[in-house]
């Protein structure tokens, strides 16, 4: 680990100023990802700015009936929050499907959104990786990629975004509030992450120093929802695929639906193609299958993860059928 300077600023404004003015500085929130990567030399900031104690850990009702969640809130606290459990159960379920109890107790909402891929080649500095060392090549394409992307990847990178929480947030049309040195702005979570293209080192649209200060959830839809995660073991594993969905069926036809996938793309994947095809159709297996197939038409699996197509199709179909039955 490279020696670094540790700062504990008195407030977020000072923190943002400190990181913004130093291209080599990094924020430290829960530390569950950054510290591991620093130990292995994947990340080597010269300055670490600790947000603990100054992050926003509050949850407030918004005027429109939505919910504003401070980015410093711990994952476990958010999952247990009564408003979240009542109004956004899909978010609580996604949070509880992630990591382990111990990690959820320290991981923050903001940190969860910007955590790095768990692609094994990214995490080993002896390996080629375009995300870690642009231009060095992607070792995953011809190597171990069973759990990597089938959607949205490129010839430069097929890493997946590992978060469960983010999949639920993207499905819920949540927004992030950002604070930079010069300006504040609000973005849909769905627009926070970028696809790799030729520059996989750029994972989000955040400018250097820009800090996620809160997440804003729109008013609850009240629709039946679910989060289904498939993984290699029953707990403490990243998703092979996951599905966040909500749906309303009226008179046997889909009236409203929102659908997002995790574990299959470099970003939480909002399945807008499928959504568009689903609205208005009969709520049955045939039309659900056609919609999912249309979404997966752009999939480009690798030899070692072709099964994810079947897996995602099966799990999405069953999720939609379950929601139809509950609607």
């Amino acid at each position: 680990m490279r020696p670094f300077t540790y700062h504990r600023p008195p407030d977020l404004r000072t923190a943002v100023a400190a990181v913004s003015q130093d291209p080599d500085a990094a924020y430290l929130a829960g530390g569950t990802n950054l510290v591991d990567l620093m130990k292995r030399g994947v990340l080597a900031p010269s300055v670490v700015v600790d947000l603990s104690g100054i992050g926003d850990e509050s949850v407030d009702r918004c005027g429109d009936g939505g919910l504003r969640v401070g980015a410093g809130m711990r994952n476990s606290d958010l999952a247990a929050h009564p408003d979240v459990r009542r109004d956004y159960p899909v978010l609580a379920r996604a949070l509880l499907a992630g990591a382990s109890e111990q990690l959820r107790n320290v991981a923050t909402v903001g940190g969860n959104l910007v955590q790095r891929t768990r692609c094994v080649y990214f995490q080993d500095t002896a390996m080629p990786c375009n995300k870690r060392r642009p231009g060095s090549g992607c070792a995953a394409l011809g190597g171990h990629h069973r759990d990597l992307a089938i959607l949205g990847g490129s010839a430069a990178c097929v890493a997946t975004h590992p978060s469960d929480m983010a999949v639920a947030l993207v499905m819920l049309d949540a927004r992030v509030r950002l604070q930079g040195a010069a300006r504040a702005r609000v973005l849909p979570v769905a627009e926070l992450h970028r696809l790799p293209g030729v520059s996989p080192q750029h994972e989000t649209v955040l400018e250097h120093g820009e800090l996620i200060t809160s997440v804003e959830l729109p008013p609850p839809s009240g629709l039946p929802s679910l989060y289904r995660k498939v993984r290699d073991r029953a707990s403490f594993a990243f998703a092979l695929v996951s599905v966040a969905a909500e749906m309303q069926v009226v008179d046997g036809h889909v009236r409203r639906v929102r659908l997002a996938f995790g574990g299959v793309a470099p970003k939480p994947w909002r399945a807008r193609t499928a959504e568009a095809l689903l609205v208005g159709v009969r709520a049955d297996e045939g039309s659900f299958g056609r919609a999912v197939d249309a979404e997966l038409a752009v999939a480009s699996p690798l030899p070692g993860n072709e099964h994810k197509i079947t897996l995602l199709r099966n799990v999405t179909l069953r999720s939609l059928l379950e929601l139809a039955a509950r609607s």
Binding site: M1, R2, P3, K39, R40, G41, R118, V120, Y121, Q123, D124, A126, M127, A139, G142, G143, H144, R146, V230, R231, D232, R233, A234, S235, F236, A237, F238, L240, H307, T310, L311, N314, V315, L317, R318
Partner: protein
């Protein structure tokens, strides 16, 4: 015989309060921290290392590499422990050669761990890289594994198996594979070493203090009594904590610097440096009549080893003793590759080999239309098919029957919504070894009794069971027994391994108790002398034959029953019931015995569903080298496991009448689960682990 209950673990309090000190918990004043540096190529040599930037880091004391490392002697070992010593692995920094990705090429020594690790990243290692081959290809020309001292022969043929197979009414011919697996003890390998008074003291994480003592003494040309190895508590071994390069490195550094040295491997480094189970490719052919009676058993194993040490995963060895069949052939072929050196891991050979054999037996039962329990009973041998010797005791059939009764064998497969439920069975077995050991008992005037020997508790309850054995042998309450272990200055004892620790150490204790009781008888009514009475006991182990002098085949057996639930959409397999019934001689400590068998079955479940080390042959490196990438069963994966045993009296196996159970529970679990998956779904998974995609790909 009713076993004496030792109650809870005697060291339980120390462990949960943190009072138990593991190797890296120890410190000397002013230690130097050592960060080992691993090769990033799979084959070639180190041309040079530019150490200038590393040495410029404040706190860095030295950088060791082959150009400046002190020369070492070749380790020597007695025949019993020779199989545990890998000379080329221990010759750390002795040459410029690189034989695998992750091999040690340098070590940075610094006043702080952080400085050492940072400086390690600044070393500029210039390699001459050679083309490597790290891919296990069964089709390639492979040599028969060379015989290893202390291990079973690699090849064996009895009768005419090819002809018997050709003439059989029913045949099975199937290929099974198991992946590389890593030990992953939660305590990483660690050594704290201090050179003092012309000798060295090591606090070291290992499975046998005397074994390490002998290796270090030999390599540094010291008399054994100038090397003291202390291993009071060890956080798991699983076969990985024999003599390792990390201990040699620590001694080398402390001798050179004259300061204490502390070294701990990182989890990632452990994936290359401390061994793993070789992947196996196994072909099993069975020939039988329609009634399921076996005529031929052929089990051919392909495994890999490194370029610098031959270790062959002995996966077909147990097949030699499992079932009666007049015609038999077993063979092990070895691919020597540019990969890390594989080694013994959790029931070496037995665990992967019995996955293949016990899956094939299940396939035979399906073809014959027989219940798999009944098929096994029909093939029960009267004597050991391998040697022709009688068994000291063999109660596989009783385990199968008792297990079937307790499990409710066998409910028909059923569908529960999107889940398919089925059940499977497999046999367990493990050889029952006893190795040479000594033990000293001292009866004190205050009525306490101390038992002292160089045994090791690698986390499975040795202290507790040795307390129970001593208490019973001395007819004293366990509360008055004190156990001293984990130190090479104590009487010579066998390492904790091959499920032989308790049998070996306990046999020596029983002998010491016999001698002590004789002294007591001689003493009569007189009081104990002020120093108490002392007796040294010993066992020669298997070298001495059985207690009655008769030659017997010595194995423990068991039967495992699994119920699984398979999600037909996702391919997820969950084990919903697991029940094992075992026959292992006298159960000395029910509390720790249950715990060991349950732990073994959990490891078997983990092997069936989760564990897989992925080697990227382009780099020769295990790429999923941490506990996020290498999955071990979590609590959520493990059902409420039922463990039982039958009463088995065996006065032939050793002086205790007890068989080792450390690994027995691991053997057969994976096959029971795979067989249950077949029962539930009709899908025969012959490649471990049973990940979701194997189910999805097997679906019609």
């Amino acid at each position: 015989m009713t076993p004496r209950v030792a109650g809870p673990r005697v060291d339980g309090w120390d462990k949960v309060t943190g009072a138990a000190r593991y190797a890296a918990d120890h410190s000397f004043d002013g230690p130097v921290h050592c960060w080992p540096v691993s090769s990033t190529i799979a084959k070639g040599r180190v041309v040079s290392i530019d150490t200038s930037a590393a040495l410029a880091v404040p706190g860095v004391v030295a950088v060791l590499w082959h150009a400046n490392a002190p020369r070492l002697h070749t380790p020597t070992a007695d025949p019993m422990s020779a199989v545990l010593v890998k000379p080329a692995e221990l010759a750390v920094l002795q040459s410029d050669g690189v034989a695998y990705h992750g091999q040690l090429v340098a070590a940075v020594l610094a006043d702080s761990l952080e400085a050492a690790r940072h400086a390690a990243g600044l070393l500029v290692v210039e390699y001459e890289q050679l083309p490597h081959d790290a891919e296990l290809r069964p089709g390639a020309r492979l040599r028969v594994a060379p015989p290893s001292p202390g291990l079973d022969p690699p090849e064996q043929t009895i009768g005419n198996p090819a002809a018997a197979l050709a003439g059989a009414e029913v045949t099975i011919d199937a290929r099974y594979t198991t992946p590389a697996e890593h030990h992953n003890p939660i305590e990483p390998h660690a050594t704290v070493a201090a050179w003092q008074d012309g000798g060295v003291v090591l606090y070291d994480a290992n499975q046998g203090a005397h074994l390490i003592q002998g290796v270090i003494a030999g390599m540094f040309d010291l008399p054994r009594d100038r090397v003291r190895v202390v291993s009071a508590h060890v956080g798991g071994g699983f076969g990985a904590k024999g003599p390792q390069a990390v201990a040699v490195l620590a001694v080398m550094a402390t001798r050179m610097l004259g300061r204490p040295v502390k070294v701990t491997l990182s989890r990632q480094q452990m994936f290359a440096l401390v061994g793993y189970r070789s992947p196996t490719v196994q072909r099993v052919r069975l020939g039988a009549d329609r009634a399921g009676r076996l005529a031929a058993v052929i089990h051919e194993v392909v495994a890999q080893t490194s370029a610098i040490h031959d270790f062959c995963e002995p996966a077909a060895v147990l097949t030699r003793t499992m079932y009666a069949a007049p015609h038999r052939h077993t063979t092990h072929r070895l691919a020597r590759l540019d990969v890390p050196t594989p080694f013994m891991l959790r029931a070496p050979g037995a665990a992967p080999g019995m996955f293949a054999l016990e899956s094939a037996v299940d396939e035979l039962a399906v073809v014959c239309g027989l219940d798999p329990v009944e098929l096994r009973i029909r093939n029960e041998p009267a004597a050991d098919p391998d040697t022709g010797l009688p068994y000291s005791s063999r109660n596989l059939v009783r385990c199968l029957r008792e297990g079937a009764r307790a499990f409710g064998w066998r409910p028909p497969p059923r569908r529960d919504g999107h889940r398919l439920v089925g059940s499977g069975v497999a046999a367990s077995a493990h050889p029952s070894h006893t190795f040479p050991s000594t033990a000293q008992l001292r009866l004190h005037p205050d009525g306490r009794c101390t038992v002292a020997l160089g045994a090791t508790d690698i986390g499975n309850g040795a202290r507790t069971v040795l307390t129970a054995i001593t208490a019973e042998a001395m007819a004293m309450p366990p509360e008055r027994i004190d156990v001293l272990i984990g130190d090479s200055s104590l009487p010579l004892a066998a390492p904790a391994g091959a499920s032989a620790g308790t049998a070996s150490w306990g046999s020596a204790i029983v002998d010491a108790a016999r001698r002590l009781r004789a002294q007591l008888t001689e003493l009569g009514d007189r009081p104990l002398p002020p120093d108490g009475l002392t007796a040294l006991g010993q066992t020669l182990g298997d070298l001495a034959g059985t207690p009655t002098g008769a030659q017997t085949a010595k194995y423990a057996f068991g039967a495992q029953f699994a119920e699984v639930c398979v999600d037909i959409d996702s391919g997820e397999v969950r084990v919903t019931r697991l029940l094992g019934v075992f026959a292992a001689g006298k159960i000395l400590s029910p509390h720790t015995a249950r715990s060991q068998l349950l732990g073994g079955m959990t490891m078997g479940l983990s092997m069936a569903l989760h564990e897989e080390s992925v080697l990227d042959s382009r780099f020769g490196d295990f790429v999923n080298g941490d506990l996020a990438g290498y999955h071990i069963a979590t609590c959520a994966d493990v059902p409420d496991i039922e463990v039982g045993w039958i009463d088995e009296t065996d006065d032939q196996v050793n002086a205790l009448g007890a068989k080792g159970i450390g690994e027995l529970g691991i053997v057969g679990t994976a096959a029971a689960i795979a067989n249950a998956v077949h029962h539930a779904t009709g899908i025969r998974v012959r490649d471990l682990p049973i990940h979701p995609h194997r189910i999805l790909e097997g679906r019609p």
